[in-house]
Symmetry: C2
Subunit: 389 residues, 2 copies
């Protein structure tokens, strides 16, 4: 096959109005708005509205949207019962991936696939994924599942349902910024999976479940778990330089460093670096320091060994940040899902209802069977009793 | 974007040794073997072995493989309990898609991702998907779940677990051919979804769950349900000509006719036509006749209206065939999954462990944000209280 097609890195697969990434200049744009403006002025609810509807809401629209999110928070009782029936060791991402298609069971209008139905399903999923994550985390720890607090915003309520205590204003602000930052990133692997599945006219739940599967992989959303494991493995700031040098000499990649699209600092990493620094308090400050040193030494030795520049990506600083906020490490990827669901939903809707030509079509690529890495041809079928062992 | 990229129809995304489709000449090749040879001489177990391992098994290998399939049939008790907890109206494809990631809960070695682990997971899934389908179909009808009969082959046991009676030799043979025919078809939408998810290093269960989502769409595996709905809608052979003419005049597509790859008769459709004719007995014979007439009149009027040739695909004759065998209509797509799981598993393993360069990489395509169908740029963030309703 044409090596330029590997991973589809250079192939334009669709038109989109949702997100623009300027990898050369480190700009991330949601629906025309710079991520920095959204981080400084917006909320996750407002950003989700923007992603879904293409425009910022006015006051009444935002209130209605926030209300719809709140009223969708509760999970059906039988889903909670089924969560309690699962082995306590079940991986959180597997739990979310299996819960989402079972939400379809409760959609009374599942055979209807209008834009309105998809928006309704999307709002329900943006609202319910935090509930699934929180419920599962409580259940596996043998704790009571906590009902949503309808006085709290989306971010505040998510922290509340996970920990069972009201979050501080600082925690709410930081977590809300994290959700805004991770909400959308164009045709990354999970979003592309969601669109690919939706292109068959599969419903929203089926598409999002596939996206969750893709997110779980360690080359994608699973990377923020791998970063935290690396921090533990390094243990102390003084170990960073040797650790990084050794890994790079072994030809290993450093998790949290480098990105398929950005050729400069990922704008999200800059913000997360600042948040990690402020939230890694007291005995946790060392996790920020180790992370900062990982960035520094990876940059230094990649330049020395490969004559290349490398920059931190969104996963590098989120690991120490979430850890310092008290989240169990294996919730790092679920937190990514709690945010990215807004982007996925917007993309599924765009895939199904794009207004302009060329319309998206069922994804059905080619593969090369005969070539350098060729498969066999013309094999003659030998009956079983004549085959040689 | 470049219109030639739509749906990736002309883009080579990977090398593969699993399957070759000659769309011009109507040839389908699994691992070098013509599908006609496999249908005439092989079994689903042998074909699955071929897809997974790349070679036909000798006698001892086939026996061991069949044994491993048999010993994996049983579902964990808690999964059966959870199935019983779901609303009886849950769609079978949603049920399978949500069960597969929950099987991961019982994989004691889930963090290990060797080729052997993936083969073990693959065999377990090939074995368990029929059990899930059968269990759910019994549970939703208020019937007892039937344990596997270890004396029976994969196909025979699948029919037995669904209906609760031993199948006839004719039923076993026909069903086994159906499973061989649907087992693999290169980079179709569901297989591509599985590979795309696996490319993030997500595990086998996450990847297969995504494939199940893609299969459920009516432009893909859901089409065989739509075909049966069409047969009911037409009702009688005498209605076919007008029905087809009307639909084509409205610009609608006829389900079961036409394929993205084949430019002649799909070799699977020819075999399924023959099987449908022989299995649609007595009062069911009309469903075969209607299907045959749909083929004939669609060909005639597509030629007349569009000056194009069109051919039946794999979904056209499987609908009447499965219906005549007594399967509930909404199990048509799950039966597709019972078969295609072998191809999916082979592709996930190839995606993760391809031996030759260029190795597969994380799928991360480009999208076009600025163009004819362009998104906005440079939007200025207006504070909420200054926005006009």
């Amino acid at each position: 096959m044409d090596a330029r097609n590997i991973g589809l890195r250079n192939i334009e697969v669709a038109d989109t109005k949702i997100c623009s990434i300027d990898g050369e200049n480190g700009k991330l744009i949601y629906r025309g708005y710079d991520i920095l403006d959204l981080v400084n002025h917006s909320s996750f609810e407002e950003t989700s509205y923007l992603l879904l509807f293409g425009e910022l809401p006015d006051k009444a629209q935002l209130e209605e949207f926030s209300y719809r999110l709140k009223e969708s928070r509760k999970l059906p009782d039988s889903i909670i019962v089924n969560l309690k029936n699962r082995p306590k060791t079940a991986l959180p991402m597997d739990v979310i991936q299996s819960c989402v298609p079972s939400l379809s069971d409760f959609d009374k209008n599942i055979y209807s696939d209008t834009k309105e139905d998809n928006i309704r399903r999307g709002i329900s999923l943006i609202s319910k994924i935090p509930t699934i994550v929180a419920a599962w985390n409580r259940i596996r720890m043998g704790l009571d599942v906590i009902e949503a607090d309808q006085e709290l915003s989306h971010s505040a309520n998510t922290i509340y349902m996970i920990f069972g205590r009201k979050p501080t204003l600082e925690e709410i602000k930081v977590f809300d910024i994290c959700l805004i930052l991770h909400a959308e990133h164009s045709f990354n692997a999970s979003t592309f999976a969601a669109r690919e599945i939706a292109s068959t006219r599969a419903h929203m739940y089926a598409s999002i479940s596939g996206a969750l599967g893709a997110l779980s992989g360690e080359l994608h959303g699973g990377a923020n778990i791998q970063v935290m494991k690396m921090l533990f493995d390094i243990g102390e700031s003084k170990n960073v330089e040797d650790w990084i040098k050794d890994k790079l000499k072994e030809g290993k990649r450093i998790m949290g460093m480098g990105h398929a699209v950005y050729r400069t600092t990922d704008p999200r990493a800059e913000i997360l670096e600042r948040l990690s620094k402020s939230m890694c308090k007291n005995e946790n400050y060392k996790w920020y320091e180790i992370t900062r040193d990982i960035e520094q030494y990876t940059k230094k030795y990649i330049l020395e060994f490969k004559k290349q520049s490398i920059y931190p990506n969104v996963d590098l600083y989120s690991a120490s940040l979430y850890y310092s906020m008290g989240f169990p490490i294996d919730l790092n990827t679920p937190i990514f899902a709690i945010s990215r669901i807004s982007g996925w939903v917007a993309h599924v809707i765009e895939e199904k209802f794009a207004e302009a030509a060329p319309k998206p079509a069922l994804y059905r690529p080619k593969a090369v069977y005969v070539g350098k890495y060729c498969g066999p041809m013309g094999c003659e079928y030998t009956p079983l009793n004549k085959r040689k062992p």
